[in-house]
Every structure is written in structure tokens, then in C-alpha cells.
């Protein structure tokens, strides 16, 4: 008897588990658990912790106490913070326009048949693949005040007679950083938009051509509207990444000269990690959140509208 009872439990036990896994709700729960644990521990919890930190007076080695919005009030009166805010918007806006324009142009150039197209496409993505910090060092070396190859070329072409101190001047430094960001972003735009272009049936363009539409009109009334959904998603990713950028500015200028090129993230790093004022650094980071939130909501609503149409 004992033997049969033991045998029967062995048969029943896995079948209970299996029956539960047959239920879609249980299976979904099991499949989603590892993701939920990791994202909960390292995204939801830090977010909550970040809010608490930004409302405290914590520093490295001192847990501090609850001070309500003191850190944010301090930021409101901080000129460097406002420079960083302005820089972030200016940086995101300018680079996005250029990345979209140049990326679209490159995508159109690649959307034809020519020999070696696969190789060209593979090489073009390299700036996007290679770790940003490492390729940015190559740019920093190219912009070096004394040994700049760009200065050398401009000098040999007879365009300049005195050296240009690319990273030493506030506006030039910002422009140099933008160039690097555009350089890195154009391939992503181009390859994604190329994929979008390839889904558009060439017959549509041919039909428009037969009806007498000129190239520009064919682009504006046929290609562009069909490309819009992909463009919006690409823009969403790019805008968020650029808005929250850190690596590029950290390597190129470290926020200098004289704090003129800080973005949200580099300023948060400067205050929170370098100076050790954790609570104020967390406040700078979190100040990014409302803007990111608005960008995401607006773009998602717009994408939905475009897709419904």
C-alpha cells in the first residue's frame, strides 16, 4: 500500500504543476517573474530612492535628513544649472535636425542599386557600433588645441592663419560636441530610414511620376508621409538618448570651459559624484524627468495619431 501511495503522489505532483502551466495566466506570471524582479530592484526601487534622496541633505558618508524641496530651490537659483538646461535643449534640438536631414539624405542615396552597396552599408554603421567613449577620444585628439589635424587641414587649404582652439571656447566647444553627436547619430537614422524606405512600394512613385509629379513633389506627397511613422520612432529614441547624454560631453570637455558645456547628466555627475553632494546631484538628475516624460508622452500620442491615419 505504502508503495502505491508513494507512486501515485509522484504521478500527481508534476501534473499539478503542469496543469498550472497550462493556464495562460499562471504561465505568464512565471515567465514575467525574472524580468519583474530585476526591473523592480534596479529601476523602480532606485527611482523611489532617487526621489527620497533629492528631498534629503545626504552627502557621501552622511545620510542627512529630510529637507523637503531645499535642493530644488537651490537649483532654481543656480546659474550653472540654467546653463545646463539651456545647453541640453539647444544640443538636442540642433543635433536632431541635422541627424534627421543628413540621415534622410544618406538613406535616399543608399536606397538605389549600385555595386558594393552591402559593404558601404556595413561600414557606414561603424560610428554607431564602436563604443562612444572610445570614438569620442579620437575626436578629442582631432580637436586637440596644439596638434589638431583639422587645424592643419584648414591651414594647408589656406582657410585659417591662426590656430582655432576648438574646445577652449564656450560656443566652439558646444559646436564641436554637436558635430561628434551628429557624426555618431547619422548612421542610425540612415539605416533605420533606409529600412522604412524599402517598405514603400516603388509602384507608388512610378504612378505619381506617370501622373506628372516632379521629383520634389513625389518625395513630399508620396515618400515622406509613408516614412513618417518610422521617422517618429527613430526621433523618439534619438531625442531621449541625446537629451540624457553623458559620455560625449564628459570626454570632450568635462563640462568646461568654465562650466559652459554642461548637460543635465554631466552636471549631476559633477555635483553628485565628484563633489559628493549626493542629494543635490540626484535632484539635478531628477529635474530631467518631467522633460523626458513630456517628450515621451507627446511623441507617443503623435505616433499613435500618425499610425491611425
Amino acid at each position: 500500500m505504502a508503495i502505491t501511495a508513494l507512486g501515485s503522489t509522484e504521478v500527481i505532483r508534476p501534473s499539478v504543476r503542469q496543469r498550472k502551466l497550462e493556464d495562460e495566466r499562471w504561465l505568464a506570471l512565471v515567465l514575467l517573474t525574472p524580468t519583474a524582479i530585476l526591473l523592480g530592484l534596479f529601476i523602480a526601487y532606485p527611482f523611489f530612492e532617487g526621489v527620497m534622496l533629492s528631498l534629503s541633505s545626504a552627502r557621501v558618508g552622511d545620510p542627512g535628513k529630510f529637507v523637503w524641496f531645499k535642493n530644488f530651490v537651490k537649483l532654481w537659483n543656480d546659474n550653472i544649472f540654467w546653463t545646463a538646461v539651456w545647453n541640453t535643449f539647444w544640443y538636442t534640438g540642433v543635433t536632431t535636425v541635422f541627424k534627421l536631414g543628413l540621415g534622410l539624405w544618406l538613406a535616399m542615396l543608399l536606397n538605389r542599386h549600385f555595386r558594393g552597396k552591402a559593404i558601404v552599408r556595413a561600414f557606414i554603421l561603424l560610428p554607431f557600433i564602436i563604443p562612444t567613449v572610445l570614438s569620442t577620444f579620437a575626436w578629442k585628439w582631432m580637436f586637440d588645441p596644439t596638434f589638431s589635424v583639422i587645424n592643419w587641414s584648414l591651414f594647408r587649404l589656406g582657410l585659417i592663419s591662426a590656430r582655432i582652439n576648438w574646445l577652449g571656447d564656450a560656443d566652439l566647444a558646444m559646436a564641436s560636441i554637436m558635430v561628434v553627436n551628429i557624426w555618431r547619430g547619422v548612421p542610425f537614422f540612415a539605416i533605420s530610414l533606409l529600412a522604412g524606405l524599402q517598405t514603400i512600394s516603388p509602384e507608388l512613385n512610378e504612378a505619381a511620376a506617370i501622373d506628372g509629379a516632379r521629383p520634389w513633389n513625389r518625395f513630399w506627397y508620396v515618400t515622406w508621409p509613408l516614412l513618417l511613422p518610422v521617422t517618429m520612432v527613430v526621433m523618439l529614441f534619438s531625442v531621449i538618448q541625446t537629451f540624457a547624454d553623458f559620455q560625449l560631453v564628459y570626454v570632450m570637455t568635462g563640462g568646461g570651459p568654465a562650466n559652459a558645456t554642461h548637460l543635465f547628466a554631466t552636471y549631476a555627475y559633477q555635483i553628485g559624484i565628484v563633489s559628493g553632494l549626493l542629494s543635490e546631484g540626484a535632484a539635478v538628475s531628477l529635474a530631467m524627468f518631467p522633460f523626458l516624460f513630456i517628450i515621451v508622452v507627446v511623441q507617443l500620442l503623435y505616433i499613435r495619431r500618425v499610425e491611425v491615419r
Binding site: E24, F114, I130, P131
Partner: protein, 283 residues
């Protein structure tokens, strides 16, 4: 083939394309040439008379040997590789399971959970790095590879899930139903029928996740402190710049060698990479 007269083809297609390629690839050429240049040639003022910046007649390996003999470069490479590989595997495991659940199972809130994953996908690392550094310290993970292996999945899992959802949605329901009529359980149908069909998607997600974790910088910069725990990007930044002095030759050598693993992986799987990238954009 591109049509039209020869000069038209050149001015409107080939010339701009050639310019794009030159500008996009020049920094890499510059990295390579700097790596093999002796210091005497590197530090010549920009307007010196006999300056010949684009080529060298005296190639040298001194910068590369410096990297391996005077710094922990080999160790940094190993760290980066290990962290990228393990966090990619963890993220693939979680992402494939979650993607399957969200794309193919009916349960309450499936739609809102999918949106939630997409929103997490958009959370930049720079938003949370300060509180996360505190949490890493509380968990006693600071200055270990696990601080990165466990936090990289926060941006890799949403990406993998999102990409896999697209792949799983494209697989017809009938495939699973056939297996279930033949007596396979839901679990077995998933493991033996659906996941093998999605292998190209898993490969794409894995390659992109690997390059993303190789590229990550701010977490590695903040969470790691001792020289032999660092990743390539952080090690190069902190050990080859001393105060105001940049060791440009070794810096470029480090950048070049640190890029090679990613470039090799990419070159083997270009098509998977591109399809993953464009698939993630189509959503």
C-alpha cells in the same frame, strides 16, 4: 542601377556618398594611424613645416606594448567581455520569456504591461545613476563585476523583450496549436516549437545587447573604483590621462583594441544586427 548621364550620376549620387563614407570613417583611420606613430611625430605642432599627419614612415608598436606592460589593459578587456557576455545572457533569458508571455498569452493587463516595458526601455541610465550607486553600495556589490552584470539588464531586458515581442507576434498561432493537438503542453510547445523558430530574433537581440553593454559608460564609471576591476572605456579614461597629460598614442591604441571585439562580432552578424535595429524601430 542608378540612371542618368554620367556627370549627373557622379554629382548627385556617388560624390555625396563618397563624402559621407570619408567623414564617417575618418576618425577610425585617425585612431589607427595614431596608434602606430612614434611620439616624436605625434607631438609636432599643427603648423610645423615638415608635418605629414596622414601617414607615417616609421610605424611603431611602442604604444601597444605600453598598454600591455604598464597598464591593466588585458584585464580591462577581459572584464568588459565577461560583463557584456553574462549580462547579455541574463537579459536574453528574461527577455525571451517575457516577450513570449506578452506577445502570445492572454492574461489581464497584458497590454499595459507591454507599454510599461516600452516606457522602461526609454529610461536613460543618467536618470538613476546616483540612487543606483547608493543601492549598489547597500547590497555590497560596489567595485565588483556583479554591480554591472545585474544593472545592465535594466536597459537590455526592455530592449530584448520589445524586439522578441515583434518576432513572436509574427509567428502564426497555428504552429503552436498543431503541437498542442499532438499532445504537447503549453510549456513544451513554447520551448520546442516557438523559441527555435525565433532563433534569428534571439541572435539579433543578443548581438545588439552585447554591443550596448560594451558601450555602457556611466554605471561603470561610478560603480567601479579599483584599477583591476575597470572596463576598457573607464580604464582608458582614468589611467591614460594623468592630470592634464594625455598619452595620446596609447589612448588611441586602447580605443582601437577596445573597439575590435565589437567590430568583429558586428562584422560576422551585420544582417542580424541591421534587422534587429530596424525591427526595434518598427516596434
Amino acid at each position: 542601377m542608378i540612371e542618368g548621364a554620367l556627370w549627373r550620376r557622379w554629382t548627385f549620387s556617388y560624390l555625396p556618398l563618397i563624402l559621407f563614407v570619408i567623414v564617417l570613417l575618418f576618425p577610425f583611420y585617425w585612431m589607427i594611424i595614431t596608434t602606430f606613430r612614434p611620439d616624436g611625430e605625434l607631438y609636432r605642432p599643427w603648423n610645423a613645416a615638415n608635418n605629414m599627419p596622414f601617414w607615417t614612415n616609421k610605424p611603431t608598436l611602442e604604444h601597444i606594448t605600453y598598454l600591455f606592460e604598464e597598464t591593466n589593459f588585458a584585464r580591462w578587456m577581459f572584464n568588459t567581455m565577461f560583463i557584456a557576455a553574462v549580462s547579455t545572457l541574463i537579459s536574453l533569458f528574461c527577455g525571451v520569456l517575457a516577450g513570449y508571455a506578452l506577445a502570445r498569452l492572454n492574461f489581464p493587463w497584458a497590454g499595459s504591461l507591454g507599454t510599461l516595458i516600452f516606457v522602461t526601455y526609454l529610461v536613460p541610465q543618467t536618470l538613476l545613476f546616483i540612487p543606483l550607486a547608493e543601492i549598489i553600495r547597500d547590497f555590497r556589490l560596489g567595485d565588483t563585476p556583479w554591480s554591472l552584470i545585474l544593472t545592465y539588464p535594466t536597459f537590455l531586458i526592455p530592449f530584448c523583450t520589445w524586439l522578441m515581442m515583434g518576432y513572436f507576434k509574427a509567428i502564426p498561432k497555428e504552429l503552436e496549436e498543431c503541437a498542442r493537438i499532438d499532445g504537447a503542453s503549453r510549456w513544451k510547445a513554447m520551448v520546442y516549437i516557438i523559441i527555435p523558430v525565433a532563433v534569428p530574433g534571439i541572435l539579433s537581440a543578443g548581438i545588439i545587447a552585447f554591443t550596448l553593454s560594451w558601450n555602457e559608460f556611466i554605471y561603470a564609471l561610478v560603480f567601479l573604483s579599483s584599477p583591476d576591476q575597470k572596463t576598457v572605456a573607464v580604464g582608458v579614461t582614468s589611467e591614460l590621462i594623468r592630470g592634464d597629460v594625455f598619452f595620446w598614442g596609447s589612448l588611441m591604441a586602447g580605443a582601437l583594441l577596445g573597439s575590435i571585439p565589437v567590430a568583429v562580432v558586428y562584422s560576422f552578424f551585420v544582417e542580424h544586427y541591421v534587422s534587429g535595429l530596424t525591427g526595434s524601430v518598427k516596434g
